[in-house]
Symmetry: C2
Subunit: 370 residues, 2 copies
């Protein structure tokens, strides 16, 4: 999909970009563009957020200068109004937005009289549980997809500027349509969000003694439930049609599964669950590997560290002294009560085994992670 | 809950333990116990798994020696038979098991004539997506809950040996009953597993161009869908009653939500989604912090590293030279194509700000993570 629908030679080199909405997404865009030498101008209804974003290096307060391209990264319901305001003030040659839903803001934009030829709808698919300018980071979009969702009215200049913006942020532009975007996002984002919240909410009904039985799997499955309620209420309302169909379908499938669990023989239950899980395996296997993960596959070496100062420095220094480059570091795994922890280090797979041998013979406890 | 229902002074010091089933769980138990100086004897229907486990240091092949305590860590449907076989052979003074479901194996065990006085049902709540002895690790149970599920028939010796085993593996023993365990696990483990698989399976129906729109949230929410289908079919069949009730309830709630999305006004939709998400927040807030996380709250300092050899060694060495202890390391966040990456280091919160200042004045790009 990359590059489809535009001529790379026609992509502009952006020099001055406006960002409306300096939350997590807008400020991260500002940081990424500023790192590329683009002049970034920032605007937000909350001037404190602009000040933080500017201090972080995401750009400068926008005093009304004209920009080549502006991106609207405000909450979903406010997007059409912000796009129209930019056009009325004549502040930007072209505009895109970062909304998680594409059809509804377009329809509302048409009703408001927005010029569709200069507005290319788009959606950088990245986020964190933390919000606001302070949570922004320049690499938020690295290796992420940036959905580019033009309509037939969208002019080439708006399309090209939006693609150039996505590329400048390190993202992979993927062209689709507003309708297809919203249908797909209902499946891969909006319904999982609602289900994660529903699963997490059930904890409230447990007795306090039962809650500790929730393990890492529960935490991962419900992580999305930490997302902002107000933001998500707007997203779900904005894409209610596609979401309703999928929520209803999932509800029916679960009810049918409950019928099998209640009434069927053991073999039939086993077959139904196995089928459900195998479909899940097939679905997961379709997920693209991260760009980086395909590019290189590291050898992981685990080392046991005593829980005292200087251990990490010692092991990293030793390995570097052996001219072995550490490509990545896994999180510490240790109990703070325990006398030792484990750190896993990624190295060239060709040297991983000999590194383990060398560490072991030097007195460290090391292993090759399978 | 820790310590409730047993007298710590009565806990035995285990010297010789048998492990039946040298997959991920059994081999990890062997590694943890061996690290504590316990003699561990290993048995598995698959002798290759025993050989791997032994080579990893989890213990030695079990040739029929009598042990003080044996733990059965085989697939759920085989547990009652293995418990009975141990008793018939007179191999162990007491027995526990590691099954994810507790009532069904007990009922089947009674039908097989197992001695309930020497068998304490238990369940270490830990796991990974990877399976088999090779994926085992000594710290798999560190800071994890080990559910101890005695029945009135359970003898004190079996209870005490099982608690001692859990503690020796670094886990937190939590006492409950088989019934309460199964009800709670249906909520926090079995239903989330089925839902994760159902969500992941929907990807199969997307067009190839839509799949890349799945972001990190989808990956996290569906991570459990990678679990072993055969293993899980047995677990779900073994706890079908409690699971069916919850699956039916979730199905009804989703159908009701779809009705709201289809027919209600915007305000009503917004209110329903907000309510669902706030309940999710409340549920997530009930999750205990990891034992280590409650004990200390670190200050996180991010540092931008050039993507060239020795950068991590340089920063870690520098910080150590300043007598600041690095308590934890976050995963590298970087694009492999980008010239820089970010590593986040946990330090005493009292020194985090001054560390950022010091790093900045030394020429590094550093920030305090909010």
């Amino acid at each position: 999909m990359v590059g489809s629908g535009w001529d790379d030679a026609q992509l502009p080199r952006l020099r001055r970009v406006g960002v409306v909405g300096t939350g997590l997404i807008g400020t991260s865009i500002g940081l990424a563009l500023s790192a590329q030498g683009v002049e970034v101008l920032l605007r937000d209804a909350d001037e404190a957020q602009v000040a933080i974003a500017a201090k972080m290096g995401a750009g400068h307060p926008w005093a009304g200068e004209r920009v080549e391209h502006a991106i609207v990264a405000t909450p979903l319901p406010t997007i059409p109004g912000e796009v129209r305001a930019l056009a009325r003030a004549g502040l930007a040659d072209t505009v895109s937005d970062a909304g998680s839903v594409k059809v509804r803001p377009l329809v509302e934009g048409v009703q408001l009289g927005c010029d569709l030829s200069t507005w290319c709808p788009a959606h950088p698919i990245a986020g964190r549980e933390r919000h606001g300018a302070v949570s922004a980071r320049a690499d938020l979009f690295a290796e992420r997809v940036w959905a580019i969702c033009p309509v037939p009215h969208t002019g080439a200049a708006a399309l090209h500027a939006t693609v150039a913006l996505a590329l400048a942020c390190g993202a992979t532009p993927v062209r689709t349509t507003p309708q297809r975007h919203d249908e797909a996002m209902a499946t891969v984002s909006h319904v999982p969000q609602l289900v994660a919240s529903a699963l997490a909410g059930v904890l409230v009904g447990l007795s306090p003694g039962e809650v500790p039985l929730a393990g890492q799997g529960f935490r991962d499955t419900t992580r999305l439930a930490d997302s902002d309620a107000e933001l998500w209420a707007g997203i779900v309302e904005g894409n209610r049609g596609p979401i309703a169909r999928r929520v209803r379908d999932l509800g029916s499938r679960l009810t049918a599964l409950a019928d099998v669990l209640d009434a069927a023989g053991a073999d039939e239950v086993t077959a139904a669950v196995t089928r459900l899980m195998r479909d899940g395996h097939t679905g997961r296997a379709l997920l693209p590997r991260k760009a980086g993960a395909t590019a290189r596959s590291w050898g992981w070496v685990g080392v046991v560290l005593d829980d005292r100062p200087g251990q990490l420095a010692a092991i990293v220094g030793l390995i570097s002294a052996w001219d072995v480059n550490i490509e990545d570091v896994g999180p510490f795994e240790h109990s703070l009560d325990a006398p030792a922890g484990i750190v896993e280090l990624a190295v060239d797979p060709a040297v991983a085994d000999s590194l383990v041998d060398r560490l072991t013979s030097t007195g460290w406890t090391a292993y090759r992670r399978s």
